[in-house]
Symmetry: D2
Subunit: 464 residues, 4 copies
């Protein structure tokens, strides 16, 4: 769960543009962020814990001089939450200086780390980016060609990786051969942009050109875009980008996210025979599902819950009923809308189920007669291995439970999930081209034997 | 534009509850905030510029010991934006110590100030609260009875004022005889609450009991609620609370805000003969209008604009097209939803019109064939004198323009406003009981002759 | 314990000069500070808790535009430590706007406050400055002349007060008729300065012109200096400015502070028959005493204790031996200099005696054979009523103890204080012109009966 | 210019002790600081730019749990000023985790870096510590023994290095075979301490045990101290620690710093035939020189300049005469002491000479008749290669100038430096055992050919 962006301009300083692009990608990670620019041959670096608006000031943006650079917003999948793990990761070698920002998850990172360690390499962070950076440096030292070096490294990496890389001569974008995480190319007024999502282009008034292809290496040198390919046998586009992670106004792999979500709502409506008065989303991410459902069923679309826009990551004072309070601070039922009503309530997905239970209780306390939970994503039964932060199977509410068991646990009057075939239909991409690992347990890459628990846990083991 | 709250508990510290309540009222003012609690006879004060989450830390909340207190969020109507004007305002006198938080606008403040000055009184802020505080102290010194003192002050005040007042013995709520600004009473687990809006009760798990009546003085002493009345000839409930200012999940003067907004959308739909494909709101405040319209017309309700939730009051770097950038950072069109579409676009109100123009341009650039602006509030032709921060008549786009002129200026294909009769119908309160001053120029109080420009300007004149 | 400064320039912004002057006066108060400037008719205000370098940034200095202004550093004597009490105190009245900064202590403040309260005045701080400001406003409203108003207020004030006052037309300096606290006039390159100590002139490259005379009112209007006099029956220059409070490089009432301290050392040496090896100061304030003693006795002057320059007001972590640690962090003995030595150790004064005990123990632990304490100020037996923050008589180690008892308590091998006659001789000003209240209990003003405890305590009583 | 410390306790958390020790060592570096502790096998890290009191809060100290750890204060000699270069440097490898803090300068760092790079190693900082850390990891991976690994690395390092190293099992102190930088062992109440200077022991109430010997490796494992030796052919104790860098209350290589400085003053007095009235130091570092001179000559020791204790590293506003202002803010002449006087003014050393010129001018402006500059360190003619930050030979005022030329340039009436023989006599250590490189250009290590300019410049070249 990260967002990345790289920007090149012929002449202008671009730190402000990276700042705006990171604001547009902030939903992809709120833990830390960073920008690296290059002024002539010199790298300028600013990183910090927190939101983009918290880390960067006008003064810092000014210091980040240079006409080319990369940026990163991070939500940790691997590695612990600390400043050492903030990206972009910057390394210096007399032959090549690199700044690198990564979105994804390298599955064989432990094996790669062990190999590097055998040659004496030690590490300052617990990120994949550091491993990738050292691998690239070593191949570059051997071959002296950055594209060749990256290809050699791609041969070694198993997993998902969308990368932006800054060298002393190039701005480079890389997407893994499976294309798990999105990466797109945009062009604006004198600028070239590579970014996780197309919303980054919108904010810069740049036009979406095309996706970076799975296995493609995009090199921007002196403003010219070159393209290189590493063979891609199959693709495995992450379905979760569509149902939850990406912004609804983004277009991923050529498919508008909003449309997918609206269609999911429609498809679920067609199969749903429940009697109800209104359909409502848990805002904001479930809105298009509920709208689609409402249109298909011709059932009133109503706001049942209002989100407090001023509760960001506010501290919660230590209280007895802390978790309940946290939900109540964020979401407030509109009593007049739900009283004595049978409510269809849409969520984008259910992971642990605890929040769902609290929200249903909120609505019932506000007078809802029935609450029928509808979930715009099939049951998540397995942890993601390719870049979405998820708990272990034991913690996943759908890990070992039937739908009926889940329904009882969250206190819904009925519970329906999207089914996988409808998910595929809504996305409009063949099943074989998608990654459905968290739904089916069938991952598009061979997982190292030992690693059937989330990789984060492995990293913690390494650490001690 | 302010939010106020007072909380009493028999035994518990209530600073955390005031903090949560202010979070729920944050939409009423983001410039500064403050909390005053009373521990035995001692007042504890914390105030600062910025959002509630920025000003208060767990440590500060801990310092605010005491079982009774008041809080305030402020958006300046009168007085300049500076820490001296942050509320609650606290004064100390050997006979009575007061902390006071005010929502509203005193129309005859200059006259009152002059009278006080004649007796030698000087001032440290440019707030109404300071004037009110000094008036109360003086009457209390004369009569020795706080309720009597407040009534005497009410005789002098012209304008709108919902107040919470903390003394060494009482927590007091006051609503002006016109009842312009809302004020409600709630009761929760061992606590009594007076707050601007009912959402403050929801977050505290407290129940709404009733509104403070126009002209009523609520005194909470040792946990007992007493009620006193100052005569109220007529009411003048602010219509703008319904169409824009209050949260949709609040109930104001017995009427749920969401319902009013939804009904406005329905009423406008009934009179609207435009041909269009979809109806969309400018999020978040215009959502219920668009939903109501959609239901009445059976026209698809669609999200055309996505709001970036991470752009708070972020600094905008100095740029050429700064204002345009600001809009683009906040709102992004969903191209797939608007391309080649005829869009009905709802806004809650148009004040200056500049933002409307930029948003319409955004949608057209994203491919919208037509943009038909619908406004859930009749044209604002006059400045508000009773507590909503508005520009002068010259700056109001509807101040001296016809609808057609406005339409051309904002670049809409058509433009329709709610009409006043439908506004009254939607609110469901008789015209005579509402304040429609900013629509008609007929204010419920006699305005001092000189004061046909916003009072803020007067205050600035006083200052120099 | 405060420092004040006012600066006028014909044309330049002077906030930076006020900033430098406050840095030079920082020793007079470290709790809070503030600057008020006037740009045309507009007052600019910045105040905060902490040191001058902590409160002011280049950005804030820039905001403080204007060619005339005043500044203040505060260590609370009266009033509690909070932002409301930071000075300058600013009040606004249609007839006159005032900013006022005060050094001293008004003895009859409670009586004055009561009189103001009788007329309905309430207060926002617990400072003398607020009282003085309101009194001036009231007299100005009556008479319309600022000098006349100030004279009327001087008739009412009992106690010590050096003031700088900023109005919309004037910069004013006032010194009480007793001249208790210092105040001087300086002239520099296009600037006129009024400041507590001459070191403020040095830093501005300004020349000392003369002291403000006791009872004098200095008015700077359009760059012209006018002088007005309130009758001064006698003076009562504070002796503590010479022995401890002022900087050694200042000249107070025409007498260089360094010279007074050096002479005190010499006079004490003449009467001292103790056998010792070296003489050392507790740095920094006792250095000139020890140098004078060393010269007179021809005894080696040696640094026995090194002060850590990086320990400002650092937080001390909660520890068992916190106080001891605090002393050890600040002062470290030079073992090689004290081992097996008989040390004459100079301090400027002993208030509670606890620090003296710890320092003597430090030296003994470092191997000092004998430690003979010498104190450059006679025993402080009574609290100061005129502006120096001191504890009650009970807490003063010399309040009710003989010299021998004190010696035993602090663990010195011998203890000698300066005697009062030598103090007078060293200062070179007649006894009748000095305030020796804290030494003799004979104060130069009639104290209100009730106030034989420090006034701070009274204020705390008022508060509740 | 750095300070290092390591502390071991059987049971207690020691982060607070590291904090106090760093406060005592703060004079050795004010740019950045850091602490790493070990709790069981887990490293806790806190680093930041600025003073110890600015970087560490009670909260951060609490997070740094663990009974063993190391700390560092840094003033950059090599590497640029940025957070990436803050120490201790921490690396992680499955075979060994290391935190390392370094005081000194590795002369052959470029060569070492190139060798590491040849094997593919890239770097995240420009510090020697990173190089040393990677070298140790590699040797450890080869041999599996930490002491053996360190010895192998010592064989490769040319230059000065006092190190404290934290591993998962040991706390280690290392001093280079020349013993250029100091390092001492102390023992306190249940704690063992290794620190740059003995003042760190004083603040912890620990006793100095002995110096770490040149070439010695001290290993603290489970509370037991082991000692290992790398052969030391000769020593080269830095003379500059005695004349300027160390605190006067420290004991370096068995010699008290204060005594050396006092003796230097005496020796200079014996050879000095100038007629003068008083002798004064530039505070604080030159005080013991002036005291020694005063005693030997029986000439009055007088404070001529008072240092403002509140000017830390305050920002200086952009002004015309900025540099002059900076001096005036820090140092103020005591006019009464210097007027019409012939002043002997002591400084510890002259590097560029610009400050000396300004101070002499200050004294002359204050009325000094003559200012005779005396310098407690022989002329610095060559840059230091072993850890003191100095400018290039061209920038050193004594680099290519005669004493008479320097005298004219700084505006002194006479100028005398300590001569080298007297320096040696004052320190009391044979010439062959000292490093006098910056005085004579004869360095105790063979310098790589190319590196006759300060190494910092080389590093800047590497960077681009």
């Amino acid at each position: 769960m990260c967002g990345i962006v790289g920007i090149y301009s012929k002449k202008r300083n671009i730190a402000n543009l990276l700042f705006y692009a990171l604001l547009a990608l902030q939903h992809r990670g709120q833990e830390s962020c960073g920008i690296v620019t290059r002024n002539s041959k010199d790298f300028k670096v600013e990183k910090g814990m927190g939101l983009v608006t918290e880390v960067f000031s006008a003064e810092k943006i000014k210091k980040l001089s240079g006409n080319v650079g990369i940026g990163h917003v991070r939500y940790s999948t691997m590695g612990l939450s600390k400043i050492e793990n903030a990206q972009p990761f910057v390394v210096s070698h007399s032959k090549v200086n690199l700044a690198i920002a990564h979105n994804g998850n390298i599955v064989n990172v432990i094996e790669l780390r062990k190999k590097l360690e055998a040659s004496g390499q030690a590490f300052v962070s617990t990120t994949d980016s550091e491993i990738i950076a050292h691998l690239i440096v070593r191949e570059f030292v051997k071959y002296g060609d950055i594209v060749y070096a990256i290809k050699e490294v791609m041969r070694k990496l198993i997993g998902s990786y969308s990368l932006v890389i800054l060298t002393q001569n190039e701005l480079i974008g890389v997407r893994d051969p499976l294309g798990v995480r999105p990466l797109s190319i945009g062009v604006g007024d004198g600028i070239k942009v590579i970014a996780s999502e197309t919303v980054a282009f919108d904010v810069l008034n740049a036009k979406f050109v095309r996706d970076v292809k799975p296995g493609e290496i995009i090199v921007i040198r002196d403003g010219e875009i070159e393209s290189y390919r590493y063979p891609s046998i199959r693709t495995a586009y992450c379905m979760f980008e569509y149902v939850y992670f990406a912004r609804p106004d983004s277009v991923i792999n050529g498919t508008p996210v909003y449309k997918v979500r609206e269609k999911i709502g429609r498809l679920m409506a067609r199969k749903d025979d429940i009697e109800a008065d209104i359909v409502s989303p848990i805002p904001d991410s479930a809105i298009p599902f509920a709208i689609g459902y409402s249109m298909e069923k011709n059932m009133p679309y109503v706001e049942s819950l209002i989100r407090n826009r001023y509760i960001g990551r506010t501290f919660i004072l230590p209280e007895q009923n802390m978790r309940e309070l946290a939900v109540r601070l964020k979401l407030n039922p509109v009593e007049t809308n739900v009283k004595n009503k049978r409510v269809i309530l849409f969520d984008d997905s259910i992971v642990r189920g605890t929040t769902s239970r609290r929200i249903i209780k909120l609505l019932k306390n506000a007078g809802a007669k029935e609450v029928h939970m509808r979930v715009g994503c099939p049951p998540i039964r397995y942890p993601c291995m390719l870049g979405i932060d998820m708990p272990t199977r034991e913690e996943l509410i759908a890990g070992n439970r039937s739908i009926e068991e889940i329904r009882r646990e969250i206190g819904a009057d009925s519970l329906r999930y999207l089914d996988i075939d409808d998910l595929i239909k809504a996305i409009g991409i063949e099943r074989e081209k998608l990654c459905l690992g968290c739904l089916t347990g069938e991952y598009p890459v061979k997982m190292p034997k030992t690693e059937q628990v989330p990789l984060k846990i492995y990293y913690e083991r390494i650490k001690s």
